[in-house]
């Protein structure tokens, strides 16, 4: 059924002659000349041209620096190998050796980045600092500085992409294929220099430049984790609903210096072009088994180390079992790791980020991760406390959905508590305390939380006012949801608020209730 939907979207978006023409846009955040070469070959075979962001000239500046850095890293690995364990038990010995290897890798990496950032002035690890001559350190430092300075001039990735999208639109160029080459945690893209493109920026860009996301027939996501299930779902459903093919990798993507990466672009583009033509000629969806077999015949698709994952018209093909859908334990591990990363948004004590104003961005991706994780009972790591794990899922999803719709929730809060807010402001003013900024649907959550604690602190000697202040604002502070109530307890808006929870329908964009 998904396949049919994919076909319908595809035919609507790319009917007939639209399969020809257009440009290939490559977002090349690590300046890979090999991947660019593969994109150019793909484009040439279709009679298209390649546009690159950042500017193509950056490759000449950055790639020699990366090679120099990686050469030094290899040399340091030889010169400073990890310690060897002397434990008698072979299993424990192996475990300790792995730990030593990881520690040493971190040490060398830290040294490299120290050298890149400070040159000969870096001396945090004297043993390594003494080994690398000042001239070499300064050479690497200067190369990095040149790249960094040019990146400053280029502007951030978001601005560059916004400019490029506007430029293509002005020329009447349709983006036929899009390559996103970078490191990734599944939704946020990073380069090895200062290039960054967050999920929130991508959602913002989609809002401002929808054609950039709606027009590509083929999309390559070349970073790690992008095509694991929850992330893939966000890319597919929220960002590229019309693409016939979204191709990438599961957990681990190959290095841009590994020829597998560029060959993957060449091979998958050839198959996708062929399938698009066949589908357009037949005028109906293709057999998913046929599509799967074609991708599985590609040498770059089924490797053990970096299995590919392709979504062709909403039908997912895995290069190796589990490449797309993690095993249960990994899903929970990812859920916890992502939850930690969301703390800047979720925290009720000191949030540092406001919920994205459009689409939900990373919070939405996190919500999808939460809901897609397998039942906790099926994960070995969760089995002995699965009720707690499921409880965590329930309370977190109720909380996160209210956070995603923070702007609607506060609007509905202000509509409902209009009189109470005015009365509270008057009481605070009388007590010589600045009131809460206006809650009208546009108040930053970071500002709201900070002001809440500042006011509460000033009310430490006025317990009656403090109690009323807390009982008014605590539901908005905590953004809790109730999934259940004790039998016999009322389910009404006042009762829900009394229990410091926010009614579910306050996430709606319209005013759902009159003032109380």
């Amino acid at each position: 059924m998904h396949f049919l939907v994919g076909f319908l979207l595809f035919t609507l978006a790319f009917a007939g002659p639209a399969l020809a023409g257009g440009v290939v846009l490559m977002v090349n955040m690590n300046y890979s000349s090999e991947e660019l070469k593969a994109a150019m070959e793909t484009a040439a075979a279709r009679g298209q041209r390649v546009e690159m962001v950042p500017p193509r000239e950056m490759i000449k500046l950055a790639e020699p620096m990366f090679h120099k850095r990686d050469g030094l890293e290899e040399e340091l690995e030889q010169k400073f190998p990890p310690k060897k364990s002397s434990l008698p038990n072979p299993a424990k010995r192996q475990e300790q050796n792995e730990l030593f290897a990881e520690e040493q890798s971190l040490r060398l990496r830290s040294a490299l980045y120290g050298i890149i950032r400070k040159g000969s002035a870096w001396n945090d690890d004297p043993e390594i600092a003494n080994y690398v001559s000042s001239a070499r350190k300064n050479e690497l430092f200067e190369m990095y500085q040149k790249v960094f300075q040019q990146e400053q001039k280029n502007g951030d990735m978001f601005e560059q992409l916004r400019r490029k999208a506007a430029e293509l639109k002005a020329k009447g160029d349709r983006v036929d294929s899009l390559l996103l080459s970078s490191h990734s945690d599944g939704s946020n893209l990073t380069g090895e220099t200062s290039n960054r493109l967050s999920a929130n920026e991508l959602y913002q860009l989609k809002k401002e430049q929808p054609a950039l996301f709606d027009s590509p027939r083929h999309v390559w996501l070349l970073g790690c984790y992008d095509m694991t299930r929850p992330h893939h779902q966000a890319w597919r459903n929220d960002l590229f609903p019309n693409a016939s093919m979204i191709a990438g990798f599961g957990v681990k993507a190959p290095s841009r210096f590994d020829e597998k990466s560029s060959n993957y672009i060449r091979q998958t583009s050839a198959i996708a072009d062929r399938l698009d033509r066949e589908m357009a000629a037949k005028g109906k969806p293709l057999d998913p088994a046929y599509v799967g077999n074609l991708f599985k015949s590609l040498s770059t698709f089924t490797t053990e180390a970096h299995p590919g994952v392709v979504d062709y018209c909403y039908s997912v093909v895995e290069g190796q079992p589990g490449a797309w859908s993690h095993n249960c334990e990994d899903q929970w591990r990812e859920l916890y790791a992502t939850k930690d990363k969301m703390e800047d948004y979720i925290s009720v004590l000191a949030p540092r980020e406001d919920p994205p104003s459009a689409g939900g961005g990373v919070l939405r991706a996190f919500y999808n991760t939460l809901q897609l994780a397998c039942p906790a009972q099926e994960a070995k790591s969760e089995r002995d406390h699965w009720q707690q794990s499921e409880r965590l899922r329930v309370t977190t999803r109720e909380n996160v959905i209210r956070l995603i719709f923070w702007w609607n929730v506060q609007h509905n809060f202000s509509a409902y508590f209009d009189t109470d807010i005015l009365a509270m402001n008057a009481r605070l003013s009388k007590a010589g305390i600045d009131p809460m900024p206006q809650i009208d649907g546009s108040l930053s959550r970071v500002e709201f939380v900070n002001t809440y604690y500042a006011i509460r602190k000033r009310l430490k000697d006025n317990l009656s006012l403090r109690k009323d202040f807390e009982s008014l604002y605590d539901p908005l502070l905590l953004l809790k949801g109730e999934d259940s109530v004790a039998a016999g307890e009322k389910i009404s808006v006042p009762e829900t608020l009394k229990r410091n929870a926010i009614p579910f329908n306050w996430i709606e964009g319209t005013t759902v209730m009159r003032k109380r």
Binding site: M1, L9, P230, N368, Q388, A486, I491, F504, N505
Partner: protein, 125 residues
């Protein structure tokens, strides 16, 4: 781990003034923890009130997908929706009127929405 479970699911109240025979009151969910484990001289153990699902509770994925599957052809029409959008559709189907639903989802057939409302409300877990 058992201690963690207890911390998580129990409500404990210290009542030194009025409870001469028991210094602590404990409420236990018997499905999670045996009541007998708390039967001590200074502990008054009771059963935590039964919980009932709110109609606007966000569903578990399996519950939601089972419900959607009962509406023929719906899955194809919502293929573009991610987990968040599907959950919202589910809760709205349980809590909104058909008129409101059709306003929210003009792209979905009214007949399917009506059917969804019916099955979602019937299978109220």
């Amino acid at each position: 781990m058992r201690l963690l479970l207890a911390t998580f699911l129990l409500l404990t109240t210290h009542t030194p003034l009025f409870a001469a025979e028991s210094n602590f009151q404990v409420e236990v969910d018997p499905y999670v923890y045996p009541l007998a484990d708390f039967s001590q001289e200074d502990v008054k153990a009771g059963i935590i009130s039964r919980r009932v699902r709110r109609p606007d509770a966000i569903p578990d994925k399996s519950e939601r997908d089972r419900t959607f599957a009962l509406v023929p052809g719906l899955e194809g029409e919502i293929a573009k929706m991610d987990e968040l959008d599907r959950d919202i559709l589910f809760v709205r189907a349980k809590t909104k009127s058909l008129k409101e639903l059709t306003n929210f989802y003009p792209q979905l057939a009214e007949k399917k929405l009506a059917q969804l409302m019916k099955v979602a409300r019937k299978n109220n877990n």
